[in-house]
Subunit: 154 residues, 2 copies
């Protein structure tokens, strides 16, 4: 079975080099970018301005290959690709939560962006804590690894 | 630009009819299903068992069309498709957080499932609150609409 997708827009970010991109957008809240939804989909943005955060789905276009085991940024051990957030994954799909700063027509100014400039946008969904957040979460190999990120940026 | 994806597995759920599926999985925590990752991708599951929750990406295969405006389950007004979570969206991509109950090889027993039986699986990512959760969230048209869901199931 093959599934064919077409980008609905493009993400503009300040990041052109891998080393500039934060591990996750929430760690670099000053990372401001914009999401350009192509005009033919613009009508679908009606009422997004009421939401403070959006979930974006996109295509890791710079990643040409995948590996079933990978080393994440946060440590030097191999883990299964489905236990890490590396872009080098089957189907190369990415998900991020961004902060919506402003909407101007089909252009969304957003904070907490963590993708390459020019990333193809596949979907935008409203971020809803009651749908998307969970309590009593265990984070496996990441346990203790995020402690030094407990600063102002969280 | 066309992007071609291939399912990495299939989601087995108790839901064969639309009216049985909860609006979101978290509202029906007894909804137990299983995620079958195809054998050729099984190695990528290494270490997922340390995580209590996983984010799954999938293809809304029952939705053949999309509409830029839609009426969500929770009210009778039209909203832009990017301000609601309807499956009838461009690219038909879905995201859910599920509770990992057990891993047996390439089969994951999961709770809080909210998709049709047979849904094609596109990706599995570890759910990490520090990456995926936000504070001070505004939820636009959904404000006040979720209050009657404040019961035991949340």
């Amino acid at each position: 079975m093959k599934i064919t997708l077409e980008p609905i827009g493009v993400i503009h970010s300040p990041y052109e080099k891998k080393e500039d991109i934060p591990i996750q957008g929430v760690f670099k809240s000053q990372g401001v970018g914009s999401i350009e939804v192509f005009k033919e989909y613009g009508k679908g943005l009606q009422d997004v301005e009421g939401f403070s955060h959006l979930m974006i789905l996109y295509y890791f276009h710079k990643s040409k290959d995948f590996s079933l085991l990978g080393k994440p940024f946060l440590e030097d051990k191999l883990h299964g690709i489905f236990a890490i957030r590396s872009p080098h994954r089957p189907n190369h799909l990415g998900v991020s939560v961004v902060r919506l700063l402003e909407r101007k027509g089909n252009l969304l100014k957003v904070g907490e962006i963590d993708v390459f400039d020019g990333t193809p946008l596949l979907d935008v969904k409203p971020y809803v804590p009651k749908f998307d957040e969970r309590k009593d979460v265990k984070i496996g190999w990441l346990e203790g690894k995020l402690d030094h990120h407990n600063g102002d940026q969280i």
